[in-house]
């Protein structure tokens, strides 16, 4: 059984077909890239998978469950986590709380336990906290644990968003332009980070990115879409030399 299988996915906004007949498959823990011109429908694909839009047509199977039309939080609970093109952290809460709240998929206690503060409540709160701290330690973020994200540098915020996504213990991590707004040296760090996460957590990663340096050095397989349709897919080398991709997306770098 494949991890994620998308078949004939189509999505329309009013009259505009943002995604049309899109298919893909994750067999195991690949690291794949999704690229394409602006407005091609990449983010829309992610939004559909994470349950934010209900697709007009098509099937999405994740670990054997059909997830099209599921609520976002249920999709996440099944093991799909994501980051956003524009950072969406809870900026007025501490970093720790940001990570803790993402444990909602597995609280382990109910309202009654909460009000009486019984054993179950205490144990689970402790468990979640230790998960969060461990994760922050792994990602070298633990020194910011009491800070509010809004007060942290942009590069760190990007990293926190990834940490938050990891805290739901995903099997598939969707990254929407993780390098956007990062400077060249931060980008190098990010590449290392993603490679490390892929190995350490042993999860599938699918990313949208416009910085070719990132995509080409990380992804084993790249899919290119334009106007919602797949125009090419293949290894980085194949994509880089594909004339259709060059014409629609890569261009030539003469200024």
């Amino acid at each position: 059984m494949s991890l994620l299988k998308i078949n004939g996915l189509t999505h329309q906004f009013g009259g505009l077909t943002a995604v049309s007949d899109f298919s893909t498959e994750f067999h195991g823990n690949e690291l794949m890239g999704l690229i394409g011109p602006n407005g091609a429908g990449k983010t829309t694909v992610f939004n559909i998978i994470s349950g934010f839009y209900k697709p007009t047509e098509g099937k999405i199977m994740f670990k054997g469950h059909s997830i099209s039309g599921m609520k976002p939080h249920s999709v996440t609970s099944l093991g799909v986590a994501r980051t956003f093109q524009n950072i969406r952290l809870w900026h007025d809460m501490s970093l720790l709380d940001n990570i803790l709240i993402s444990q909602h998929y597995n609280l382990g206690y109910n309202l009654f336990d909460l009000f009486v503060r019984n054993r179950r409540y205490m144990d689970n709160e402790k468990r979640m906290k230790s998960i969060a701290i461990k994760l922050l330690e792994q990602l070298d973020l633990v020194q910011f644990i009491d800070e509010q994200p809004k007060n942290l540098p942009y590069g760190i915020q990007r990293k926190i968003e990834i940490a938050r996504a990891l805290s739901v213990k995903p099997s598939l991590l969707l990254l929407d332009e993780p390098a956007a707004g990062l400077n060249s040296s931060d980008v190098q760090e990010l590449i290392k980070l993603i490679r490390w996460i892929h190995k350490e957590f042993d999860i599938a990663i699918w990313m949208i990115e416009h910085q070719m340096a990132v995509v080409m050095s990380l992804c084993s397989w790249i899919q290119v879409i334009d106007f919602g349709k797949t125009i090419a897919q293949g290894t980085p080398e194949e994509i880089q030399n594909n004339p259709a991709v060059i014409k629609a997306y890569l261009g030539d770098d003469k200024i």
């Binding site: 602006n38 407005g39 400077n183 416009h210």
Partner: protein, 241 residues
């Protein structure tokens, strides 16, 4: 000298973000500011365009001279309408509830309705054909890159002589990014002065005449683009190699 920043100090509340920076931009130049995240690049542009609090910051020392005149006491909207300085801000800040066309029209708020206006519309629509195509779409439903184009187009439409760009390539596809830099080059050749902030320092330095490197609220290096590209310090710290 068209723009001269003299020993500028800027504060957010009690936190000082710029600790006395000085630089200048000549007429017809393309100058780039590069540097790490949080170095104070955006803060500098906001200070020049006088973005008012609470979004903005407070200048606590130094001066900003434009054609020899201080901008410090000029209200933000006059910077655009009287001094013809435009900013394509970080984070785009398009008017999502207006259509693409209305966004552009709003940018011409203080312009008379004349020939040059028509020419600018045409220019924007030819530079960014996507904008013409999406003319009647509510702009909040544009994709990220499309919004970026709109933001730059809007800055061009305000009929400026001097344009400040805050990470214009953010979120753009490579093709579009090159296209946009070509457009900017063309504008520059037509006489527009450009101050550019870019994360992709390599690209920015290839494109600009001169550059300044900022770090934690200070200018740490400056020179022509070529000098900076070959400066080993700069290379190591900011060019990712």
């Amino acid at each position: 000298m068209l723009l001269e920043i003299k020993n500028l100090y800027v504060k957010y509340g009690n936190i000082e973000a710029l600790h006395g920076i000085s630089f200048n931009v000549d007429k017809g130049e393309i100058v780039t500011l590069i540097g790490a995240n949080g170095a104070g690049k955006t803060t500098t542009l906001h200070a020049i365009t006088r973005v008012p609090p609470p979004e903005g910051s407070k200048v606590s020392g130094g001066d900003i001279l434009y054609n020899g005149k201080s901008l410090l006491n000029v209200p933000a909207h006059l910077i655009v309408s009287d001094y013809h300085i435009a900013l394509a801000p970080e984070g785009r800040h398009i008017f999502g509830n207006l259509t693409v066309e209305e966004n552009l029209k709003l940018a011409t708020y203080s312009r008379p309705d004349d020939e040059s206006l028509k020419r600018d519309y045409e220019r924007v629509y030819t530079l960014f054909p996507k904008m013409a195509e999406r003319r009647y779409q509510r702009s909040e439903t544009l994709s990220g890159g499309e919004q970026q184009m709109l933001s730059v187009s809007r800055a061009i439409m305000t009929a400026c002589n001097f344009i400040l760009l805050d990470e214009p390539s953010m979120g753009l596809s490579p093709l579009l990014m090159y296209d946009m830099f070509r457009v900017l080059k063309q504008l520059n050749e037509e006489g527009m002065t450009i101050l550019l902030i870019e994360q992709n320092a390599n690209l920015a330095l290839k494109f600009a005449h001169r550059g300044y490197v900022m770090d934690t609220g200070e200018i740490v290096a400056s020179g022509t683009a070529g000098e900076l590209l070959n400066n080993p310090e700069v290379k190591r710290a900011y060019l990712g190699g």
